[in-house]
Each structure stands twice: as structure tokens, then as C-alpha cells.
């Protein structure tokens, strides 16, 4: 069947297709891959999708049915969209046939297949609905009459996948036209279906299986309600608000034993429905307040009752958090204040809604022990958006807007009583203390930042007293493994209130934290590492770190030992918090770590070797490389010769990483090598030179993540070893230029190409690149002609000015005019003069200023040829570069540039902060002040041809620019003759 443009809908073809589909399920890639390839190769043929549809409908084998449906969905996903200027990948006849059959097929299929087809419909709908699929809506609405809820739910599910984008798309003419069309056809039938379904629920109140289907419908209907009401309140729903809201309200208060599930984890249908209704009510309360106002108090009461009567099980979490969020958003609106202001109401909300939802539950305890990563993420990083605790905190914040006094009063009573409970019997009542600490940490914090912790606290408790009386004792206890949750709470307290607790108390806690690095609980030792890391980054006066190296010095050895030991604790071998704390400790302690470097670097290299087998924790890896860089910098700053020791320790692992092509690490390795190479003061060591040819291999440059690191490394080679390259590896220069050529061809990487080119121009002996110079310019012109972008122009300007500085103004003019007569004038007129204002960066601007000064004052053709007319405009633009704000505009057509060289995903480049390169100024001391330099150069020029310069300046320079220029001349104490 290969090669034919149309595949017959024959049994033979169905059979073949079945075989290949079966093979795509094979675990053996040798069988699976060719089958996948084959299917891809025939999917362009006519009838292919119809064969799949036939199979998913008629195949005898259920596995094939499902497989065909998935394949079909993916096929639609890849091919349905018609992209401008690209061939239509599905022939029209197939498109028509698919649209004609798919709804019916979806509705008559079992659920597993229905889901796939429903997804396919929504993908098709996204492109074709409504214009190119006008009867879809009627076809769907008609099915509402069928009375068959399997079919109805299929329709509802499809409608949901079609309409849910109304929830997040921007308003547009097109979108609203579609919504209007949908509302006209769909809103009334949906409302009727809603009413009918609710009636059926009461008729079938004793039939569990019927109820389950009906409730699934109600959930979908409620979701559709949300989508259809999202953009604005439609007239239809405003007119029918009574029906919807009354029924929503009833459903919210409804309970039916038959629908309750035993499962403690998974939310049941009732919970899902009620939580969607909470969302619907919240949407109306938030956006359509005026119209919804009269329903709102009833919903507040219903939702509140719901909260008071809902249990602690995990399955209620979403419902509870949605319900609390609803109350939180309502209670801070001024005109609903009265619903909450009664003292009894407030007390009851605090007691029955907030406190119970802040309690540490069995599920939390489980997560603390068995799923610590998730626990930490939720507790520490705030990825707790849907949790009960977070919702309860938000409610407290909302209530505090109007009732801070009473709320604080109620809770401080609670905190005290819970601490008393704990004191009676710690080993049984430790959860009470946890709740007390949680209340304090969440209620006391009015404003919180990652960097500084809490920055404003309210008057709930005295934070320092609480720290001394209730936090420190726990951390001081000899057994680091006792009450791990309370230990974690205590450490977190330090992190959060580090700005409130006085420094002397923090200093006391540092050895305690170091001690807790040894705790068995992952959460506890992770928190300890994290707390240390946070404390070490705190800033005191003068922006210096709050803790000095000297203050930490007494603990250096135990700190480093415990940190590395913690990495050997079960579950923490790639713990990013610990690695970050290591990095931070190095950074804080600086020279104080030098005595330990031999051990440290050994441990780091071992770790590197181990994780390079299967890099899986990007943050951990990143901090590890940062720590390596810090070790190198700190050591070599004191003793540059020590670089050899690092090379000895690291090169073996690096070689292995390069040989095994560990893609994630290669960019890091190049950065560390650049750092090492730059530390060498003399000529380039031969070990590096051996690597040089390998760096030019095209395959390395295919990966975008490598490019910045490789360019940086090549620049280091050029800086340190240009003479060696010119003498010993001259045959590699074409390869080097090949890299440049590849890079400048890409819009994404052209600036990297210029970095490389600039290093070549700056460092290579001129004669070694002489023969290539013209070709370089021609390549740049080609790119300018084909796809000019602002970024390219900026880099180009810097390059030609650098060239001018290095080779002289005349050489620049000659090379342009050598390519094509009068080219130099064109470049001046069309590029340099109009675009120079766009150049950014101090060094870049300086290069351009000095380069242009040379053009103005050291280029005879500028004085006595047709180029002379450009002399004053060029001077004017140079003064503009000095004085006017940078022009950071980007032409409209450039706002959306595809990064065309990154097909699919590749490892991204991550810059190592501690491998940072110093900014390099190729002009350097040669010119300190470019304005003075301009004045002096002009003066020199004017002495060579008296009278001409002042006349050129005074006749056509604009007044403002002239004034600036006179300022420069004065500052340089020169005059123009």
C-alpha cells in the first residue's frame, strides 16, 4: 500500500494496518520504531484516517480499537490544521467524511474510545468550528433528546472540550461571534437538560447506578455553565439566573448516601459537582456582582454549612479549598462585610472552618515521611495553591481586611490553649503544637518575601519570645530525630521570621541547624540546609552579608562535614537544597574553605562522576557545577598555580562526560574549562590544544545549549593561544570560520558568531586571517540582504568599528569598496548613520565611538571624495550616540521571530554564575574618555587641513549637537583650526 496516493478501504489494507498498529505496542524498539515510521510514511495517503476509523469501530480486537483511536487522535492533532503556505495534509474528501461520521462514532463507542474521539473532535472543532462545521451544534443538541445518558454525556464532554477555551482566551470579535452562535443554539437546550436531569435525579434517588450517570451529566453541565458564562454574562443566563442558581443552591445542599464513596483519596461525584458549583458561584460573585447580589447570601450560608459538615478526608480537599476560596473572595468585599461581622459568626468561622483545615492530618504525616519531596514543595515553595491550609490562610487574610482585631484575638486564644495541650503530654499532643506554630507562621505574616522572610508581622504573638520559648527548646533537644514534624516547623519558623528574630538569636541557631543536617528525616535535614542557605544570603548594612565569614569560622569544619554527610543520607543523594547550601557556604566562607579544598573537590568530583551516569536533578547539578567553579576561583585567586591540581582532578571526569556525550553536562564542562583556561597566565597548555580540533566538530554545534559555552571556550582559546593557533594549528582556521559562518546564518545565534569573529579580529595575527577577510565581509552582507534584524545590525556595527580600530579606517573603507565600488558610502549612509543609536552596552558603545572617530579623522576619502558629504551626518550621529537615549525600538515585523534553529527540544544553556567572564574591553586604556578622544582627534585633523573642519561643523551640524561638541572641545582644552 506504500506509494499509492489513495489507500483502498479494503480488508487487506485493514489487515496490514492492524499488523502495524499491533507492532507499535511492542516494547522492543527494534520492532516498534519501524512500525511507527511506516505509519507516519503512509499517513499522507487518502483514506488513511478512514481506515483508522473503520478499525476503531469494527476491529474484533479491543486493544486494536483503542490503539486505532489513539493513533487517529494523534494523526488529527498533527495534521488537521492547515498552515498557510504549507500543503494541506488531509485531503478534502477525508475531511468531509471524518466530520460527517465522527460525532456518531464517538457517541456509539465505549468510553475509552469516546474520550479519544472527543479529543479529536475538539481539535477539529478548534480549526473548523463553527464556519466549516456548521451542523455540529445542531447534531449535538439533537442528541439531548435521545434520553440515553451515555450519548448525552458524550455530547456534553465534547461540548466541554470545545467550549473550555472560552475560559482563557482573549476577547475578540471572532471569539464572541462563536460564543453568540453557541449560546443561541445551546443555552436553552442545556438549561432544559439541566432541569430534566435534576428531576431525573429525584425520580432515581434510590438507583445508585442511574444517579452516577446523572451526576456525571450534572458535573459536565456545570462546567459548561462556567465556560459559557466566563467572557461576559450572557443575556440568556441573566434571564434564567433564577433557574440555574436555585438549582445550584439545591445541589450544593444535597446529600445522598448512594453517592458517597468509601475511597478516602479520590473525590467522588458529589464532591466534584459541588466544587464546580463553588467555582460557578465564585465566578458570578467576582464578575457579575450586581446581578448576582440577591443570590449571594444564600450561597454563603450553603457553602459555609458545607464546610462545617465536610470531613477531613483527602477526597474533600478540592471541594473544601474551593469553598473556602469562595468565602475568602466574598468576605473582603465591602458590601458583604455585614455577612461576617457578627462576633459569633467570626468565632464560628475561625473554630469550625479555619482551625480544622490547618490541622496536620494523617495524610500530611504520610507525605512528610514517604513523599517528602512533594511535602517540601508544598510547604516551602508555595505550590500549595489548592491545599486546605493555603485556602484557610487566604480566608484569614481576607477576614483580616475588616476584622483584624477580633480575628487576632480569637486565634491568640487558640494558640495558647493548643500550646497548653501540648505541654500536658508532648508525645501524644505534638500535633497541637504543630497547629499552633502553623497558626503563628501563617497569621503573623502580613507580608512575606523569599529573600527576607516575613517583612511585616501583626500583633498575634511576640515573635522573639515565641522563638525563645517554643522554638529553640525543640531544636536544642539532644535527639535530632525526635518529633521530626515539630523540628521541621521550628526550622521553618527560623526561615520565615529571620528578619524579625534578632541576629544574636540567629547566631545561636546556626550550630543547631548544622546539627540537624544529620537528622534522618529528609524534610528535617533539607529544611536545615535550606535555612542555612537562606541565613547565609541575608544582607546586613552596606549590603554585606549579615553573617561574616569570621562569625561562621568556628563551625566551618562541622558545617562542611555535615553538609556532605547529608548527601549520603537515604533519599538525599541528589538533594538540591543541600547542594545549594554547599555552594552558598563556599561563597560566604571564601578563603576559609581553602584548607579543605582537596577533600571537597574529591567529594564533588565523585558526586559528579556518579550523577553523570544519569543526570536527573537539574538544580542539583547546576549548584554542583557552581560549587566546583567557586572552589576553583577561591583557590586560584590565592594561588593561580593551583589550577593544575584542579585540571588533574577534573579532566578525567570531563573526558568521560565528553566521550559519553552526557548532553546535560557538556555546556557546564565547557564553562568550567573556560574558567580554568582563563586562569592560566601564560601560553595555552598543550592539553587544551589537543582538544581544540574537537571543539570545531559540527555535531557539537548542532545543539543550541552548547553554543554559548563553546563560543566562550573558543574565545578563551583565542585570547590565550592565538599565536599557538596561528603557528601550530593554522589549518584549523577555516574550521573556526566555518563555525562563525554557521552561527551568523541563524537569527538566534548570530550574536554568538560575532563574539567569535570579534575575538578572531582582536587576537589573531592579521596575516593569519588575511586571506579570509574579504569572504567574511561578503558573508555578512549576504545575511544583511537576506534577513536583516536589529540584533544583527547592532552586532554588525560593533564588528565593523572593532575592525576599524584594529586595522585602521582606511582598511575598512578599502575592504568595503573592494567588494563593490561605493559600498563604503552605502554602509555609512544606510547602516552606520541611521542605526548607530541602537547599539547597546557600554563597551559596545565605546568601540563604536572610537571606530567612528577614526573614520572621521583618519580616513582621507572622508575628506576629499564624494564621501565627504557624509562626514557631518556621521559626526552628528556620533554625538547622538553620546548624548541621546538608546533607541531600543524594534520594528513590528521583528516581534515574532521563530527561533528557527531549535527543532524540537534540546538541552538549554544554563549560565554558571561563578564561571562568569569578566567584561572585556578591547579598546581598554587606549581610550579612556571617547568624547575627549573625539575632540583631540578632530583637533589633530584640523591642524592637518586648517579651516575645513570648522566650516564642515558649523554649516551643517545642528545647533544642539554643535553645543555638545563645543563642550567636548572645551573639556579637552583644544580648538578647531
Amino acid at each position: 500500500m506504500v506509494g499509492s496516493m489513495a489507500m483502498e478501504l479494503s480488508d487487506a489494507n485493514l489487515q496490514t494496518l492492524t499488523e502495524y498498529l499491533k507492532k507499535t505496542l511492542d516494547p522492543d524498539p527494534a520492532i516498534r520504531r519501524p512500525a511507527e515510521k511506516f505509519l507516519e510514511s503512509v499517513e499522507g495517503n487518502q483514506n488513511y484516517p478512514l481506515l483508522l476509523l473503520t478499525l476503531l469501530e469494527k476491529s474484533q480486537d479491543n486493544v486494536i480499537k483503542v490503539c486505532a483511536s489513539v493513533t487517529f487522535k494523534n494523526y488529527i492533532k498533527r495534521n488537521w490544521r492547515i498552515v498557510e503556505d504549507e500543503p494541506n495534509k488531509i485531503c478534502e474528501a477525508d475531511r468531509v467524511a471524518i466530520k460527517a461520521n465522527i460525532v456518531h462514532l464517538m457517541l456509539s463507542s465505549p468510553e475509552q474510545i469516546q474520550k479519544q474521539l472527543s479529543d479529536a473532535i475538539s481539535i477539529i472543532g478548534r480549526e473548523d468550528f463553527p464556519q466549516k462545521w456548521p451542523d455540529l451544534l445542531t447534531e449535538m443538541v439533537n442528541r439531548f433528546q435521545s434520553g440515553d445518558f451515555h450519548v448525552i454525556n458524550g455530547v456534553l464532554r465534547t461540548a466541554h472540550s470545545l467550549f473550555k477555551r472560552y475560559r482563557h482566551e482573549f476577547k475578540s470579535n471572532e471569539l464572541w461571534t462563536e460564543i453568540k452562535l453557541v449560546l443561541d443554539a445551546f443555552a436553552l437546550p442545556l438549561t432544559n437538560l439541566f432541569k430534566a436531569t435534576i428531576e431525573l435525579c429525584s425520580t432515581h434517588a434510590n438507583d445508585a447506578s442511574a444517579l452516577r450517570i446523572l451526576f456525571s451529566s450534572l458535573i459536565l453541565i456545570s462546567k459548561l455553565f462556567y465556560s459559557l458564562n466566563f467572557q461576559d454574562l450572557p443575556e440568556f443566563f441573566e434571564d434564567n439566573m433564577e433557574t440555574w442558581m436555585n438549582n445550584f443552591h439545591t445541589l450544593l445542599t444535597l446529600d445522598n448516601k448512594l453517592l458517597q464513596t468509601d475511597d478516602e483519596e479520590e473525590a467522588g461525584l458529589l464532591e466534584l459537582l459541588k466544587s464546580q458549583i463553588c467555582d460557578n458561584a465564585a465566578l458570578y460573585a467576582q464578575k457579575y456582582d450586581e446581578e448576582f447580589q440577591r443570590y449571594l447570601p444564600r450561597f454563603v450560608t450553603a457553602i459555609w454549612n458545607l464546610l462545617v459538615t465536610t470531613g477531613q478526608e483527602v477526597k474533600y480537599d478540592l471541594l473544601v479549598s474551593n469553598a473556602i476560596q469562595f468565602l475568602a473572595s466574598v468576605c473582603e468585599r465591602p458590601h458583604y462585610k455585614n455577612l461576617f461581622e457578627d462576633q459569633n459568626t467570626l468565632t464560628s468561622i475561625c473554630e469550625k472552618v479555619i482551625v480544622p483545615n490547618m490541622e496536620f492530618r494523617a495524610a500530611d504525616e504520610e507525605a512528610f515521611e514517604d513523599n517528602s519531596e512533594e511535602y517540601i514543595r508544598r510547604d516551602l515553595e508555595g505550590s500549595d495553591i489548592d491545599t486546605r491550609r493555603r485556602a484557610a490562610c487566604d480566608l484569614v487574610r481576607g477576614l483580616c481586611k475588616f476584622f483584624e482585631g477580633p480575628v487576632t484575638g480569637i486565634f491568640s486564644g487558640y494558640v495558647n490553649s493548643m500550646l497548653q495541650e501540648y505541654a500536658k503530654n508532648p508525645s501524644v499532643n505534638w500535633k497541637h503544637k504543630d497547629a499552633a506554630i502553623y497558626l503563628v507562621t501563617s497569621l503573623a505574616s502580613k507580608a512575606q518575601t523569599q529573600k527576607h522572610g516575613i517583612t511585616q508581622a501583626n500583633e498575634l504573638v511576640n515573635l522573639t519570645e515565641f522563638f525563645v520559648n517554643h522554638i529553640l527548646p525543640d531544636l536544642k533537644s539532644a535527639n535530632v530525630n525526635e518529633f521530626p514534624v515539630l523540628k521541621a516547623d521550628g526550622i521553618k519558623y527560623i526561615m520565615i521570621f529571620r528578619n524579625q528574630v534578632p541576629k544574636e538569636h540567629l547566631l545561636v541557631s546556626i550550630p543547631l541547624l548544622i546539627n540537624h543536617l544529620q537528622a534522618e528525616s529528609i524534610v528535617v535535614h533539607t529544611y536545615a540546609a535550606h535555612a542555612l542557605e537562606r541565613l547565609f544570603t541575608m544582607r546586613g548594612p552596606n549590603n554585606a552579608t549579615l553573617f561574616t565569614a569570621a562569625e561562621i569560622a568556628p563551625f566551618v569544619e562541622i558545617l562542611l562535614t555535615n553538609l556532605f554527610k547529608a548527601l549520603t543520607l537515604p533519599g538525599s543523594s541528589e538533594n538540591e537544597y543541600i547542594m545549594k547550601a554547599i555552594m552558598r557556604s563556599f561563597s560566604l566562607l571564601q578563603e576559609a574553605i581553602i584548607p579543605y579544598i582537596p577533600t571537597l573537590i574529591t567529594q564533588l568530583t565523585q558526586k559528579l562522576l556518579a550523577v553523570s551516569k544519569n543526570p536527573s536533578k537539574p538544580h542539583f547539578n547546576h549548584y554542583m557545577f557552581e560549587a566546583i567553579c567557586l572552589s576553583i576561583r577561591i583557590t586560584c585567586k590565592a594561588n593561580p598555580a593551583a589550577v593544575v591540581n584542579f585540571e588533574e582532578a577534573l579532566f578525567l571526569v570531563f573526558t568521560e562526560i565528553l566521550q559519553n556525550d552526557v548532553q546535560e553536562f557538556i555546556p557546564y564542562v565547557f564553562q568550567v574549562m573556560s574558567l580554568l583556561l582563563e586562569t592560566h597566565k601564560n601560553d595555552i597548555p598543550s592539553s587544551y590544544m589537543a582538544l581544540f580540533p574537537h571543539l570545531l566538530q559540527p555535531v557539537l554545534w548542532e545543539r543550541t545549549g552548547n553554543i554559548p559555552a563553546l563560543v566562550r571556550l573558543l574565545q578563551a582559546f583565542l585570547e590565550r593561544g592565538s599565536n599557538t593557533i596561528a603557528s601550530a594549528a593554522a589549518d584549523k582556521i577555516p574550521g573556526l570560520l566555518g563555525v562563525f559562518q554557521k552561527l551568523i546564518a541563524s537569527k538566534a545565534n548570530d550574536h554568538q558568531g560575532f563574539y567569535l569573529l570579534n575575538s578572531i579580529i582582536e587576537h589573531m595575527p592579521p596575516e593569519s586571517v588575511d586571506q579570509y577577510r574579504k569572504q567574511i565581509f561578503i558573508l555578512l552582507f549576504q545575511r544583511l540582504q537576506n534577513s536583516k534584524t536589529t540584533k544583527f545590525i547592532k552586532s554588525f556595527l560593533v564588528f565593523i568599528n572593532l575592525y576599524c580600530i584594529k586595522y585602521g579606517a582606511l582598511a575598512l573603507q578599502e575592504i568595503f569598496d573592494g567588494i563593490q565600488p561605493k559600498m563604503f558610502g552605502m554602509v555609512l549612509e544606510k547602516i552606520i548613520i541611521p542605526e548607530i543609536q541602537k547599539v547597546s552596552g557600554n563597551v559596545e558603545k565605546k568601540i563604536c565611538a572610537v571606530g567612528i572617530t577614526k573614520l572621521l579623522t583618519e580616513c582621507p576619502p572622508m575628506m576629499d571624495t564624494e564621501y565627504t558629504k557624509l562626514w557631518t551626518p556621521l559626526l552628528q550621529s556620533l554625538i547622538g550616540l553620546f548624548e541621546l537615549p538608546e533607541d531600543d525600538t524594534i520594528p513590528d515585523e521583528e516581534h515574532f521571530i521563530d527561533i528557527e534553529d531549535t527543532p524540537g527540544y534540546q538541552t538549554a544553556f544554563s549560565q554558571l554564575a561563578f564561571a562568569g567572564k569578566k567584561e572585556h574591553d578591547p579598546v581598554g586604556q587606549m581610550v579612556n574618555n571617547p568624547k575627549i578622544h573625539l575632540a583631540q582627534s578632530l583637533h589633530k585633523l584640523s591642524t592637518a587641513c586648517p579651516g575645513r573642519v570648522p566650516s564642515m561643523v558649523s554649516t551643517s551640524l545642528n545647533a544642539e549637537a554643535l553645543q555638545y561638541l563645543q563642550g567636548y572641545l572645551q573639556a579637552a582644552s583644544v580648538t578647531l583650526l
Binding site: R167, H168, E169, F170, K171, S172, N173, W176, I179, K180, L183, F230, Q231, D232, L233, P234, E235, E238, L283, Q286, K287, D289, E290, R333, G382, A447, Q448, T449, Q450, K451, H452, T455, Q456, E533, P618, H619, H622, E664, P708, A748, N749, H751, Q752, K791, P885, D887, D888, T889, E894, H895, F896, I897, I899, T902, Y905, T907, A908, F909, A913, F914
Partner: protein, 543 residues
């Protein structure tokens, strides 16, 4: 940032059609280019051109398109005797109307008119289907029988007050020309009824409006305006005039507008509430358009009076006068300046605090367009004390009001000087703005993110970035922005990502210590597609 000055309040579409701006001389243009970061100044004011699409119910505060005459005319002695007609059934009416005896015709027409005037379920459909319209139109021409003319005009008025099809039936029977002629009738009641009928026809839409205009109704209507006519008559004339100004695509021709404007200016000085209301509505329609149309209205000199009327306690005067002034400030900088000179900024602060949320919304909308102007306008906006009530609205307004307030802040931020931004931040705008990041409206969320990003950039220039970041984090902004990185709308997600990346990634003395993340690659690729430059995008993972 999406900038706008908008031409109407309806939740419709703001097309990005730039409006001609006065050419700027070179140095100023250069300055602007820098200030707006590449956005041409004229882009800051955008006009709504497309027909508005509404999902919402038509607004209750709007002016009526058509009105049926159901009032008793007993107050008019001339009609007193006429009301004593006999009541007939439909068939009798049909027979009577088609009879040749003028008395029978009169009786039947009166009976029909009465049916059409009853408060509940007037049988418009039946009368139309009975084919009575052509005869009624004929009766309009029977100048010997003014009572018949009056009854016929009334009946047609009420038919024309119905659906578009019913109005169309009246028009297609040729009613417009005889009605226009009746405007010169010596009998005032006849004349008044003709005015009303024409009002209903014109109210149907631009097509019939233009038919009425091309039948030369305007000069006749204008000639009726005098201080001697009863106030009810004057009200009817004003209302009909307003319908002749109403509707766009197309707008009424410029010539007609030019004819009506002086009279509207005159009517605007009247004391009667209804006259004022309809006059303001008329002006609001005329000013809801391009700068040229706005210019026509402004040049009439109506602004000082309009601003005065904006302080009216009558909602039906306040609403259209505010709407008109709001329309005017969507115009050029010059037109806005005239509105400012007339004192609009002195009135807006009170209106921002008006008890009705619809007024707050209109006021905030007008303010947003003043904020879209040059920084001198923004300066006046600050000086008049509009910031405190604006912040109050951001905090506690209804959503539709908050939305307008957000636009105001957005325009302010884009056009304001650094000093003005400082004042904005000091007015406490950030906290309520950040709280609105949880609003279920992706456009508003994007705008707020843009505002935050502009404020951060301004803070950067003042070397205050660190404090600003802290402030935003303290008020819970970072949490919210981080969460938005996962928003389903890619533009929201990307904007949030950029803010986190550029301002909230953990800073080090020499750069950022964070790996580029290689998870969620599909998501990231998607985001980086539209992202220029070599930067690698990464969502912030909290340190």
C-alpha cells in the same frame, strides 16, 4: 502594552486602528519614540470601528429606540372630542378603514389607534396583517380631515414602534414623505404626532434614519423648535432629533449633523430634564466616532455646559452627558485638552465615587482616555485628585468598574513620566492591582502584568528595583505572578514568565544562579516560539 482610548463602553472590541494624529515636529517625535518604546503616539488612542458584539442584555440606562404612544391625549382639548369614538372589532375596523366615507374611516382609524394604544398586548401584528397600513398612509394626506390625519399618524406611530419588520411595513407603504409633509401642518397635534412617528422610523436603524433625513425632515423639524411650543412637543422633537443622530455604520451624513448641531447646542441650554437628556444622548451618538466627528461636536462649544450637566443629580442627564464627554476624550490630544479646560477633571473624582456602579464605570473609562494622553494631561489628572478615588475603585469597585480602572492605570503607566509613576505608586495602586491578578479575565490580567513590568523597569532606572521587588513580593504579587506562569492563555503565561525571569529570579552579585530547566519542554518551546533573542526561558523555581 496594549494601549487604548476607546470609543464606547460596551464590552465590545477595540480594534487597533490608529487614528491620525497631528504631525509632530521632529525633535518631539524623537522624544516620543523613546518614551513609548517604539509605539507611535497615535497608537495610544484607538477607536472602535466594528459593530459591537454583545453577549449581555441591552443596558437599562440607555435611551429608548422606539416608543409607543399610549398616553391619554385628554389633556389636549382638540382631541378631547375625538376620544369619544366607538369601539369596533377588527373586521369592523377593516371594513371602516376601507370605506369611502371619511367619517367611517375616521371612526375605524380611531378604533384601530385605540387598540394599538392599549397598555397590554397591542395587536400590532394583526393590524399589519390586516393590510391597513397603506390606507393609513393615504389618510395622512387628507389635509381636509386633520382629525383623521392625527389618528392615522398615531396609529402608524405605534405600528412603527414595533419590530423591525413592522417598522419596515410602515416605511414600505410610503409613510415617510407624507409624515414629513405633516411637519408643516397648521394643527399642532398632527404635527407632533408626525414628529413622533418619524422618530420611531428613524430609531429603527441607519437605513430608515437616512431615508427620513433624505426626505428633508431635518429643516422642518428644526423649524418647529421655538420657545412658544408646549414642552411635551419640544420633548418629542428633541427625542426624534436624537434618533436622527443615532446609530453608526454608517453614521448620519455630515451635512445633516451640521444642520442639527446648532439646534442641539441651543436645546442644551434648556431647563427641562427630558429635553436635556435627549439632547445629551444625541450628542453622545454624534461624538461616538472618529476624531473628525468628535471635532464637529467640540467645535459647537458644548463642552462647558456638558461638564456642568455631569454634576446633575438626574441620572438620565448625567449618564448621557458623561458618555458624550467620555467619547470626546477618545479624540485627539487637542480635543481632550478642550474637555480638560472645560473642567472634566474637576468633576470626575466625584463621579468615580458615585453610588451607581454604572456611573463609576463610565467615569473610570473617561479617565482612562485622559490617561492615554500626553504627560501634561496626566499631570492635570493627578493635580485634580483623581488618584485616590481611582485606587478606591480598584480596591472595592465592581468588576466592570475595576476593569476600567485597570485600563486607566495601564495608560497612565505607559504615558507617564518617571515622576508621575512615582506618584502613582505612592497612591497605593499596586496592592489592589496585584489582588486583581486572580480575576477571571485574561486580558485584564495581562494588562496588569504589563503595568507591573513597566513599574519595575521605571524602578530599575531609579535604582529602586530591589525595593520595588520587595514591595511586590510583600503584597503577595510574586506568588500570584508565579502561579500565572501556568495560565492556559499563552500570552498571560509568557508575560508572567518574563517578569519572574527579569525581576524575581534570585539575584547574585554576578548574575543568576539557576539552571535552565529542561522539564516541561513542550510548554517551554511553545513559549519561546514567540520570544525573540537567545535567552533561554525558564519558569522561576523558588530558591
Amino acid at each position: 502594552m496594549s494601549q487604548r482610548a476607546r470609543a464606547s463602553l460596551s464590552p465590545a472590541l477595540w480594534l487597533t486602528v490608529p487614528v491620525n494624529m497631528p504631525t509632530l515636529d521632529a525633535p518631539e517625535e524623537r522624544l516620543r519614540k523613546f518614551k513609548y518604546r517604539g509605539k507611535d503616539a497615535s497608537m495610544r488612542r484607538q477607536q472602535r470601528m466594528a459593530v459591537s458584539l454583545e453577549l449581555r442584555k441591552a443596558k437599562k440606562d440607555e435611551q429608548a429606540l422606539k416608543r409607543r404612544n399610549i398616553t391619554n391625549v385628554s389633556s389636549d382639548p382638540a382631541s378631547e372630542q375625538l376620544t369619544k369614538g366607538v369601539s369596533l372589532n377588527l373586521q369592523e375596523i377593516i371594513n371602516g378603514v376601507n370605506a369611502s366615507d371619511p367619517d367611517l374611516c375616521f371612526q375605524a382609524t380611531q378604533a384601530a389607534r385605540k387598540m394599538l394604544s392599549r397598555e397590554r398586548n397591542p395587536p400590532l401584528k394583526l393590524i399589519v396583517e390586516a393590510g391597513l397600513i397603506p390606507r393609513l398612509v393615504e389618510f395622512l394626506k387628507s389635509s381636509l380631515h386633520p382629525c383623521l390625519q392625527f389618528e392615522a399618524a398615531w396609529a402608524l406611530t405605534n405600528i412603527a414602534s414595533g419590530t423591525s419588520e413592522q417598522t419596515q411595513a410602515v416605511v414600505e407603504s410610503g409613510a415617510i414623505q407624507p409624515l414629513v409633509e405633516l411637519l408643516s401642518s397648521p394643527h399642532m397635534t398632527v404635527c407632533e404626532q408626525a414628529v413622533w412617528a418619524l422618530g420611531n422610523i428613524a430609531g429603527d436603524g441607519p437605513e430608515f434614519r437616512d431615508l427620513v433625513i433624505s426626505s428633508n425632515a431635518i429643516p422642518h423639524l428644526l423649524a418647529l423648535v421655538s420657545s412658544t411650543i408646549p414642552i411635551t412637543f419640544l420633548r418629542n422633537i428633541t427625542w426624534t432629533l436624537s434618533n436622527l443622530c443615532r446609530n453608526k455604520s454608517p453614521y448620519p451624513c455630515k451635512k445633516a449633523v451640521k444642520q442639527m448641531l446648532p439646534v442641539l447646542f441651543h436645546l442644551l441650554q434648556h431647563e427641562d430634564g427630558e429635553v436635556l437628556s435627549d439632547t445629551c444622548w444625541a450628542l453622545s451618538y454624534l461624538s461616538d466616532g472618529c476624531n473628525e466627528r468628535i471635532g464637529q461636536v467640540v467645535d459647537t462649544g458644548v463642552l462647558p455646559r456638558l461638564v456642568q450637566l455631569m454634576t446633575s443629580s438626574e441620572l438620565n442627564i448625567l449618564t448621557p452627558s458623561l458618555r458624550t464627554v467620555g467619547n470626546i476624550v477618545t479624540g485627539t490630544d487637542h480635543q481632550t485638552q478642550v474637555a480638560i479646560d472645560a473642567g472634566i477633571l474637576n468633576v470626575l473624582p466625584q463621579l468615580l465615587m458615585h453610588p451607581r456602579s454604572s456611573i463609576q464605570k463610565e467615569a473610570a473609562w473617561a479617565l482612562s482616555n485622559v490617561a492615554a494622553g500626553p504627560c501634561q494631561h496626566i499631570q492635570q489628572l493627578i493635580a485634580c485628585g483623581t488618584l485616590p478615588p481611582l485606587v478606591a475603585l480598584l480596591k472595592n469597585g465592581e468588576f466592570k468598574v475595576q476593569k476600567e480602572a485597570v485600563w486607566t492605570v495601564a495608560n497612565f503607566t505607559t504615558g507617564g513620566t518617571i515622576d508621575q509613576l512615582i506618584q502613582l505608586v505612592h497612591s497605593g495602586v499596586l496592592e489592589p492591582l496585584v489582588n486583581l491578578l486572580t480575576i477571571q479575565d485574561p486580558k485584564i490580567v495581562t494588562i496588569i502584568l504589563d503595568v507591573i513590568s513597566l513599574i519595575l523597569k521605571a524602578a530599575e532606572k531609579l535604582s529602586e528595583k530591589e525595593n520595588m521587588c520587595l514591595l511586590i513580593e510583600e503584597i503577595g504579587g510574586v506568588d500570584k505572578i508565579e502561579a500565572l506562569q501556568l495560565h492556559e492563555n499563552p500570552q498571560v503565561a509568557l508575560t508572567a514568565l518574563n517578569i519572574i525571569e527579569n525581576h524575581f529570579c534570585e539575584g547574585e552579585e554576578n548574575g543568576t544562579i539557576l539552571p535552565a530547566l529542561d522539564q516541561d519542554c513542550e510548554y517551554l518551546n511553545h513559549l519561546t516560539k514567540n520570544y525573540q533573542g537567545p535567552t533561554t526561558s525558564k519558569p522561576r523555581t523558588t530558591p
